[in-house]
Symmetry: C2
Subunit: 259 residues, 2 copies
């Protein structure tokens, strides 16, 4: 087994009730050595329970815990309570994966994104909760010997604009920049922004049905697009391998389709 995944690991994973997050939990769970822990967060308790069952079915030697969290209303105190019971002396690797996210109000094209409250709602989930949990993670797990790794699930749309999903583009761009600054300020951290490629998640379906741009709707459902669709297992496997290979510069980004 690879050196990266052969250590007693504490994983914290958001957006773990479905889609990429659920699959990531399973793929990572398969690799974890005994006495490792996965802490799952999302809003949907049923989904979290299902993810826990899926992980433990593959690997019963690890502890899986889950917490229902409303990231629209999260703050440092809330995250501190979640990590408080974790005995940080037990682990050799702390891995935080920010997967939770939303596409934003699809009724608004950029010219209509004029409501500070709508903006704040979007950024609470997609940026502020991310920086908040990161801050708590770094305070709590502050050992000189254990490695600290943070994965920011991002998108091609964090670096390339795309019609009709302005909130999403801005949210992903802002998250990537936050982690680039964090990496620069903290050279001992291991930080990766990973873009999983186009996966057929609920978010993908939502855009294909509800985008205000007809061309985008057609593109998302076109036969041509199908060749680019990535299987959720494949992209999770790829991320797991990228972490194992350490084939990136901290603070940098890797896309599923990068060579």
């Amino acid at each position: 087994m690879n050196e990266f995944w052969s250590r007693r690991t504490c994983v914290i994973l958001t957006g773990a009730s479905k889609g990429i997050g659920q699959c990531l939990a399973v793929e990572i769970g398969k690799l974890l050595v005994p006495e490792s822990t996965i802490v799952l967060m999302a809003r949907d308790t049923n989904g979290l329970e299902k993810t826990k069952e899926m992980v433990n079915k593959e690997n019963s030697d690890i502890l899986v815990e889950y917490y229902s969290v409303d990231f629209y209303n999260s703050n440092a105190t809330m995250f501190e309570k979640i990590v408080e019971p974790i005995d940080s002396t037990k682990y050799e690797l702390f891995l935080l994966i920010h997967n939770a996210g939303s596409v934003g109000n699809l009724d608004h094209l950029a010219a209509d994104m004029n409501d500070p409250d709508e903006w704040n709602k979007y950024m609470l989930l997609n940026l502020y909760s991310v920086t908040c949990l990161t801050s708590v993670f770094l305070s709590k797990f502050n050992s000189d010997t254990a490695e600290r790794c943070i994965v920011n699930i991002t998108s091609l749309l964090g670096i390339e604009p795309f019609k009709s999903v302005g909130y999403y583009c801005v949210g992903k761009a802002s998250r990537e920049m936050f982690f680039r600054v964090l990496a620069l300020e903290n050279p001992t951290l291991n930080i990766l922004s990973y873009s999983p490629g186009p996966v057929l998640t609920d978010m993908y379906t939502n855009i294909s049905l509800n985008s205000k741009d007809e061309v985008v709707r057609e593109q998302f459902t076109s036969g041509q697009q199908k060749q680019y669709i990535v299987k959720v297992e494949d992209t999770c496997q790829k991320l797991v391998n990228i972490l194992a290979m350490r084939s990136y510069k901290t603070g940098g980004r890797v896309d599923y389709y990068d060579k």
Copy 2:
């Protein structure tokens, strides 16, 4: 005189009470043809009054108006009231320049940026008010014949992370992405993100005195850095020329130091 600046123009300029904004108002004012209008916005009324005097001293043939605006508490209704009296049939060019901005709380390194309220405060000024004013501008000035141009004053730090100014980096990155999406969705708009280079503004002085990173403080005040400092008149002149030459792709960015 150049074609771009030879039209009856209505300019809306934020952050116009000092620094780059004040100088931009003067440099643009020099070029504007009679019956043009400049609408200045900022919080500081005295500064706005001074800018108005400076502009009219150079060119008494144009109308200069100003409004004290608190961008931390702005919304669409507030901006609608400001543009409401403007007779949009009079102009051939509508130019909106988003120059207002702040560096953010310098007490927080990225690992400490964990307060949603602090984040919201920052983004209200640096992103939400910008999108809000843009939206009002596009609704109000919606002629088939007049050109609409939007300039987003950005920074190298919108594309390159920099220690100790995480809010600023994230704010500028998010603004640039917003305008890239807006440009993609609205091909008839003329949109430029302009990075003025390191100018000795109050913001520059603030970072050089108060950055939490000692190396940054030293760098900002070093003799070596002095050679890169840009004179405020030079960068404003450069922006005015770039607009005149149309030497950019809409939605793109130009830095003062670009060849």
